[in-house]
Subunit: 401 residues, 4 copies
């Protein structure tokens, strides 16, 4: 059966030519990212548990959960947590299958705590956080749809829904992702004062880029106001240098501009996340599957993190359309910008979307017919191998936020 | 001081000419909408309580909360709730001000229950729902910014953030909003079998429109499978007729296509919402402030519902930019499509955004200079009167989802 | 089969002759009593639900639950609740039986809310209280023991345990129960300032009785400190008069002695219970099944409220032994004081206790042989008709606290 | 000022001569004991935190909390936890003192988890238990009474209440305490199959003693039904031998009589406590401060565990009266049995009870006048040094359950 793949030429001002561009990323320790990461960790753990016990992944969606902020008293040299963060795990998971009881609640709690321990190593797991669980059972209807998963047939879509992706990343998008990478792999390991909860907001106004970074600082590694100021200035410098490697435009980086240094009103924290002191978080309210929030680009509102990776369109199609766009831009010449949308039809096999819609802004003079054929082939291949998305999600090879 | 207002002509294919358009709306009883509605009801109630007691609106953000699904046994003629829905209220609110204690928790619980009672009249408030509360205190830092609210100065932005809006609505957008209106004001009152939890997904593929509607049915008003089928067919007919009033394109409407009528696997519910039986909901995961989810349009990821209406950019700028676009399209000739983005700078007065960016696709032959001047004036006026947004939100005159 | 009934003459100083006697009662609105009352209301509601749906009472024990105090701001003329009371329902109940799903959670929540509404009519059910539920499922083992309940065989004991009761009530005991009755049926209806949460502590030191009463006052019915003082004096007077009808001893009654009238540190409440402002409560920590706490008498530590009335020894034997003692003292002459203990053996029919032990302090000159025979007959009859206890508990005819 | 100490001769059948005696102990891992132990651990941790930060112990009572059972699938060789135990910490503690914020919630959570880790080493703290916290603030009134604690004045009673204690322990009481000691220090360390949750019920009927022991077994140390049976028989043997060292009476010991070996319906658990699989627990529903439940003896219903050790009569007087009785029986000749009751008066210094009432059954021919004088002196001395009770409780030297 032939797939419905629709490639059209898009007459539109490419993002780099638009006057204003806005991009945002909530880093790993932001309350919304904590919620996303935990949700995804639980889904992965459940997949493994299900495979172990049932040789199949059963219905579940753990794309819910709430990070309720605690209270803390940060202090130079090391403060203390006053009231622990409260993390409520919700969502659904099949608890019983062919007479077997699956320990979904215990698995969820363990996965959440393991994830937190690894992701926020500053956290005192015995004192600073409460992980609670009110996970429900999978609904019977959806379980029905699920029976095919164990076999070799392709799962059917859980919903009439869609996924969307784009490529290539703009300069601002690239820089923000690079900053995040730089901070986690190079800056923080050497400067543990830099916390885990950062929000990077990039604004390009014509050829002027401004990166506004709010970064939690960890008090036990910060003995004084001078340390604090030094850290922000160090970050500013390093990240400005980094950004300049990606662009010819003017770059300005601001770190913790909301601080009032004189009155010592700072973004100082005990553990490096604002979740400890007033900021709640939820699954699906932060980054999209490409790691960014991009109001100048088409976006899906779906929370991908925690969704089951077998038949949930909001997860699979968002991941797949992003990969298709990236592959096409990498392999096919003549593409300035590209948007991929995959639409499902509830109950139909997920490798045959209702329509795969590709919009391309071609480079001037490019042969659109040729581009179109090449891209269509990529789309077709990717859809035929859609199950690799599922496999890589379960292995934790694909990021969802 | 002059405002930075940037009006540019956008070279882009108008939405109606694009091959594919996707729009979605989660109606009032969808779990995500329940979460949004409760969050906003609590914020409004707190505003009133604060005004009563302190002559000022104090810091709060109740844009959090989680609807954890219950379990039910729907049955023709009337089934029963097995496990109540669990609704957790979180977020922050200032609990103490100048020696006065504000009853924020009790106010939140009452506002939530009142909202539910009014919005889902089928719900047995003594049996079908648990409203729990773990609301925190407002953080001191943000309280500082807030002191100005009582006076006549303009509040300062809570964050470096933005809002986005567009106009006019496309045919698909108009039709979805009209369907929702038709259902709540005309169809449901006469046909109480139609539940509160509907998801309307509109897809335009060229000149073919398909509306896929998932509608919970209320079992006490549905004595048999025939009643059920009749109701879906009635809805299909009425909504098809309605849609045709808005468009010359081909229209197809599907209601509850995932049903398996033979096996009586239906979207039958006790109270008319899937929250009773397996679907969780969160604030900010559903409709944007214009009531829609529009992946073909620029969108903000911010949860507007429950945010404080005084200085929270994610709420105020999203509402305001939508109103600006609508006013401009209504009053200024020659606009095919228009996008408004308002960018704040943390700590600066909200009536002076860092930049107000307007993108217009002009009609062929229109005088862009003239359009530009008129639109700029509208933007300027609206910003000057930004406090009316706050006032109307508190009065409940503006929808946030 | 003959029952093992052991009647012995007890050589012991009767309570009225001991130098010191202490008795206490926590009235209906005391946090511990609220917990007890709710636990028992839920058990009764479950019994009805089970009978309706399964023609049998299934395994459950709802003798758990926690009243977590809220916060309030009482004020003359009417204050307000700041943070609602949080009531957590726990315990176990069979959720599924022969393919039928029993709505145990929804039933529990409804029963709890109904009970509270009726018992504490001052409470604003939409604002002043949160009723949460984390009830578990019945354990399989106990369910096994339970299968007999529907038929005409006698249930088997859930545990190796015992119940204990005594008669007649001493003067102090009688007076405390009479005071409670007087307050609920006569004083409070006419003087709504008197709250629901009272603790009556009776101390007899030789021939001097002192009743120390802590009584919550309801602020909406108390316009000033004068009203408050007047109410305590009125109670003091009325209850002194009442007590004198029961005794020739000296009586002194104190009401709210911990108050500091000058500094207006009073026991003033919004709704008439200290649960609104700092006092938690638990099932089984208050009155025994005779409505009293009597450290001079043998007592069982079992929480009777909420236990299943079919085979739970801690409930049935405590109720039954109290009734046996009362009946015997009423019908058989020559008994000064009497203690009944019933001991079960796990897995054996409850109408055949391991031993029924009766201790009697006979009146001087009484014929103990005759007393013994009469009492034994009463014990025997009562045990033979043990199922009437179950029936009356389900109908709500027996108090458990 | 002279203390009111009342020593009277009690005409009563000593316990060893009564026909029937019942004694019970819930060991360390019983759900009620878990609740007690956690409550007391939290109080101790708070005392230390308060002393550290404020040089005084502030008002708190953590004698609340609920152990909500989880679900488990025990299995020979090692099963798994399906749903974690849920432990809710409630109670009150002063959160703010002279401008200092005390981290009461974080301290409570940490103390609870530390206690559990140490007490139930089988428990997987990351997976098998959820420790939640909803602790309130101390009430202002009680705080007032508390100001004296830091100084050298004696605290004043929190309530009109009492404590009660007795000595010496009867044979049954001694044997049960010895069995518990034997199991924890000798049997379990060498035989880890023996769990932590044991209930020992002792019944003496004339000269026949029967000890009925329900002992959770730990499945990872139990490879088969044979191991299980062997363990119960081993316990039976060891404990019978032990008991015989304390008595000349006939002794019979039964272990896990409710088992149905044929159908493998056993008391097999994953972690050695029934809290994992169906049995809830609450503070104050288990052992009294002497470690026993003794329905043949006067008992207080007060939950001592978790009560503040400064001025809470329900804690201090129960501990003190027990110690007084034990000291007197040890030092003064001629006492067969002895009961001590201490009565407080709210607001009065705790070293001057309203009355200290001592009842003594003297040995035949003993000089009661002499006994009385000696005992009075002991009572007087102990009251004068009442603060040592507080100190030893804070150091963890006194058991409360």
């Amino acid at each position: 059966m032939k797939r419905t793949i629709n490639v059209e030429s898009l007459r539109q001002m490419p993002i780099e030519e638009q006057a204003i561009e806005l991009v945002e990323r909530k880093c790993i320790g932001h309350p919304d990212s904590i919620a996303d990461g935990v949700a995804e960790a639980i889904s992965r753990a459940l997949c493994c548990e299900y495979e172990d016990q049932c040789d199949a992944v059963l219905h579940h969606n753990t794309d819910q959960g709430e990070v309720v902020a605690g209270a803390s008293l940060p202090s130079f040299g090391g403060g203390k947590i006053v009231r622990p963060i409260y993390l409520l795990l919700t969502g659904r998971a099949t608890k019983c299958f062919e007479g077997k009881v699956i320990p979904t609640d215990a698995t969820a709690v363990e996965a959440a705590r393991d994830y937190l321990k690894e992701t926020l190593p500053t956290l005192n797991m015995e004192r600073d956080i409460i992980v609670d669980c009110r996970m429900g059972d999978g609904s019977t209807d959806l379980c029905d749809v699920f029976r095919t998963c164990g076999g070799n047939t392709v799962p059917r879509a859980n919903d009439t829904s869609f996924g969307v992706g784009h490529a290539p990343f703009s300069e601002v998008e690239q820089i923000i992702l690079a900053m995040d990478e730089e901070i986690s792999t190079r800056l923080r390991p050497k400067n543990p004062i830099i916390g885990y909860d950062l929000k990077i907001m990039g604004l390009r106004h014509g050829d002027q880029m401004t990166y506004t970074i709010a970064s939690a600082m960890v008090d036990r590694y910060c003995s004084s106001i001078d340390d604090y100021v030094e850290a922000t200035e160090f970050m500013k410098e390093e990240l400005t240098t980094l950004a300049r490697r990606f662009t010819q435009r003017k770059v300005s980086v601001e770190v913790n501009t909301a601080d009032d240094i004189k009155n010592e009103s700072l973004f100082l924290t005990v553990n490096g996340t604002s979740a400890e002191m007033g900021d709640d978080g939820s699954v699906g309210r932060g980054n999209r599957v490409n790691g960014l929030i991009t109001p100048n680009r088409p976006m899906s509102m779906e929370a991908a993190s925690g969704k089951n990776p077998i038949n949930h369109i909001g997860k699979i199609y968002n991941l797949l359309s992003t990969e298709i766009a990236q592959e096409a831009c990498g392999k096919v010449d003549g593409i300035t910008e590209m948007y991929v949308r995959l639409l499902s039809q509830i109950g139909h096999p997920i490798d045959y979307p209702l329509v795969a819609s590709v919009q391309i802004i071609p480079e001037t003079g490019a042969d659109f017919g040729s581009i179109s054929r090449d891209v269509e082939e990529i789309v077709n291949n990717r859809l035929a191998n859609i199950s690799t998305i599922t496999e890589r999600v379960i292995k934790g090879e694909l990021k969802t936020f």
